[in-house]
Symmetry: D3
Subunit: 104 residues, 6 copies
């Protein structure tokens, strides 16, 4: 979520509520997604893998959507990410994630 | 862990104990790490990110080591992976993972 | 959830189903929320932080609601709890929790 | 989920998408649920306990349903599983799981 | 851990520190491990599965040891438990758990 | 960890490696631990509760130690925090955390 447009709703509330925290978050976010050697796209695929491994449906949907819209990540690329989730995190996390991918 | 050499000790015990399960595991492992579109290296970086996000020190060490030995993944590449962990999974997971990277 | 009124639906089913387990649970619950030195309110804020850190939406909602109704915990107090969640557990857990707070 | 009928929707998508991965998964699944000494039913109760301990509602529902339909697992058996979840994983996971059991 | 002998060190400290909490815990523990329909041994196998699925080495060791000493649970029974962990929770949790089993 | 002295080793490596990320982290950290209404001490107790609930021994030790040194948090205060962990996250997390507290 390099682009502010893709911040979650919760974080957008904070913009007014706590501008200092919001600004610090934006800075961290930018610094994280400016990889020294890895591309933003590769980092995004990693973020998708992490959200899927945690079975975090909400975060996974947001990551998949911003990855597809911002970076033209394809369904096949996400399926390759999710295979790693099957092996490292088990079939329920995999099943839920593949199902979410097909429902987008 | 595409290569059998890098399988964990636990899984190697299973080779004798339960050959059918072992064979099924090997097949799944090969199938997972033969991405349709993503390279094995990108999948490995994702596996490193997942292990770090779970604060799973044991798995993380194994993934980092096999990534460095099998695929010449560099310290800087792993640092870019871990930045995504800081943002998505918090500072204790990040701190532990960076520390492990420097201790290898 | 010191007060029986705030027990979850699942636990209330147990009252009839398994009175012995229910009674043991009530005793433990009372003993937990009778802090030696910390106030019940501080313990409740900790319970909110734990539910948010686990991204457990269901438990988080229940903890926030009973905290607000039983103990007059304010939105600003919960926002200060959730900041700790952002740092220790990452932005998806934080984002989900802030969003839930604003939807109550 | 020994029986293919009970595979999750996500995994069924994979049957067409990636037949090799699907086949490897089916083999692993069969090998897992062919216990050397434990019955399939005992293994299923363990799978229910694991899904409940992770507070994974989606997986839990699937496991409970296939356990009841395939293996005539009863409500009382599941309640005995969930008691272990209360002790080892806390009251929110327990509460959610008991509630789900009563809603099936 | 039905038998007090097998309580963890931390919980034993509480006996002096907070007798009321300790007593409530003992009651809950007894009530949990007195299944209505499932045997204590089956519940113990479930507790082993849950500890392994969470990759919680410390709890897993304690559960395996007390299961073997109290209830004559065998290595083969535990291997059948751990197969469910491989499928539902991924290979790092499985690998760590099998390895721990062989090191006891 | 408001005070830089208590940052983890991993994060201190980043100071040289990636000054921009380090600076963003420090800013976020300060902003988080400057509560609008809650005291730093209360936020610290919440951070201890979260680390204990995740069974994250490494983070828990660091949080307990910096809480005791920076803020004179007492053993009894931490025991009241950990009681919430017993109820919400189960006895293995509680047992491990109490044991760690007594070993400091």
């Amino acid at each position: 979520m390099k682009n502010e447009v893709f911040y979650g709703k919760g974080i957008r509330y904070i913009k007014d509520e706590d501008p200092e925290l919001y600004e610090a978050f934006v800075k961290l976010n930018e610094s994280v997604y400016t990889g020294k050697v890895l591309s933003y796209k590769t980092q995004k695929l990693i973020a998708i893998g992490i959200a899927a491994a945690k079975s975090d449906g909400r975060a996974l949907k947001k990551q998949m959507q911003s990855g597809m819209e911002e970076l033209d990540i394809t369904k096949d690329e996400i399926l390759d990410v999710l295979k790693v989730v099957l092996l490292t995190s088990g079939s329920p996390a995999y099943n839920k994630s593949v199902n979410m991918l097909y429902s987008i």
